[in-house]
Amino acid sequence: MYNIDMEDIDPEKTYDLIVLGGGPTAIGSAIYAARFALDVLVIGKIFGGLIATTHLVENYPGITSTSGQGFMEMFKEHMNSLQIPYITDEIRSIEQRSDHFVLHSFFQKFKAKSVVIATGSERKKLGVPGEEEFAGRGVSYCATCDGPFYKDKTVCVIGGSDSAAKEALFLSQSVKKVYIIYRGEEIRAEPINKKRVEENQKIEIIYKTKITEIKGDNTVKSVIFDSGKEFEIDGVFIEVGSKPNSDIGKHIGIRTNKKDEIIINRKSETNILGIFAAGDVADAPFKQAITGVAEGVIAAYSAFDYIKEMNIEH
């Protein structure tokens, strides 16, 4: 990561663009902003975003197959080659002034003429008793992080998405058995992953079933189905979707839809002039790394255009 020289963090300095987020959308946006010769800063809570926890990335055109971490290493390298500064922090609020924005974190204050919100999403909780109690003690939201702790054990993945399928496939490499527990009638994975799941001897899918409770003592021992059945298990991996991290935008009056996604147009513009959004936090119908990066790049171009107009006016 390009180490920002703290002497460069001048509270009175106004960046051309500050990008919020640590995933591929944010970094992709910043890379283009730098190429447009914008003075850009990236502020992200966690470098890598959700994709960094993905076992395999096989659907980013141009990359046959790589790990989530490997994928983000490429973005990091590109970012570093352009000497784009990155700060690990979380912006809590954005204030709008006449010709710039002030961004506040707990530790610092920043100014920018424009902002790209690419804060992604976070994993949804299941919302059942025992889930919080056993977090880190048998309940996990990240198979790549925690899967190896369940070697030769029996685990379940809750969910029926492509992510759930991929988590199950990853876990099957080290655990004894994986159960995918899904409330629907058919998992919604990409056909290629669905086929892999169906052909994997270690993976069994339990359909039309919900979990109503997670039980155990020091660690998880069982889950309760909505049928009332108690099912013995050593680990529960929850993959039931995600919710957008859009609160930062809502506080300043950025419009969101019913799913709390930031509404953007084809220029990645929000309803506030000078603020753009992209990626999982925004309202695309189909969200992938490549689509997020594309929106982030468009946001950078739109910011470049916006600043050019501002400079002409002044």
Partner: protein, 214 residues
């Protein structure tokens, strides 16, 4: 297993940013010879790429009982980053490769004078923070561990001896993993008392240290 070429390249690129001299103490052990040799080999890469700015002071566990006692060494090999008062600020019970490279070099830079991002706010709360040891339990394949190492290291550097951060790869230390019943990473153990799991923000960590809720 020799270090992968990609990590060698990352080490050389990162350590080239160092612009002031710094000395690291490393304690090796003949009882853990393979790990010790690996640690020394990796540090050699750092040292050679540092334009002479990084010095490695090797101490053998078996022949330095006074230093073992002074620095409270319980495991070896271990890398110690110490401040001007020779207090241990950061311990690495893990070879600084892969995701640990960037926070390792970042810590060296802050140790040698690069301003610390969190320092101003931490200093405002200095009196409310008691002496603390944070064990950062990580693995190489954990996506968010690098960020946690960075935050905890920066806090240790900002707290001027009040906080020590131990970075521990639990796959290399299964005894420690078992001791704390670790089933997820990153896991933070604060003063042997409190366990925090997952990606904690710097703000959340500060509140934990001053025993407040955000």
């Amino acid at each position: 297993m020799p270090i992968a070429y990609v990590y060698k390249r990352m080490i050389r690129e990162e350590i080239a940013k160092l612009n002031k001299p710094v000395t690291l103490k490393i304690f090796t052990s003949s009882k853990n010879l393979q790990e010790s040799v690996k640690m020394l080999d990796v540090l050699d890469i750092y040292q050679k790429a540092s334009n002479g700015l990084l010095k490695i002071e090797e101490n053998k566990l078996e022949t330095n009982p006074n230093l073992i006692k002074k620095y409270e060494i319980q495991h070896a090999p271990v890398i110690l980053m110490t401040n001007d008062l020779d207090q241990v600020i950061i311990r690495y019970l893990t070879v600084p490769t892969a995701a640990k490279i960037q926070p390792f070099v970042q810590a060296l830079m802050v140790l040698t004078g690069t301003p610390n991002y969190y320092k101003n706010v931490i200093k405002e709360n200095l009196n409310e923070i008691s002496p603390t040891v944070i064990k950062v339990l990580i693995t190489d394949y954990c996506a968010y561990c690098s960020t946690m190492i960075s935050i905890c290291s920066q806090f240790a550097l900002a707290l001027e001896g009040k906080l020590q951060t131990d970075v521990i790869d639990i796959l290399a230390h299964p005894d420690i993993s078992e001791q704390y019943n670790v089933t997820t990473v990153p896991t933070l153990i604060i003063n042997e008392d409190k366990k925090l799991i997952g990606d904690i923000t710097a703000e959340e960590l500060l509140y934990e240290l001053i025993n407040k809720t955000s």
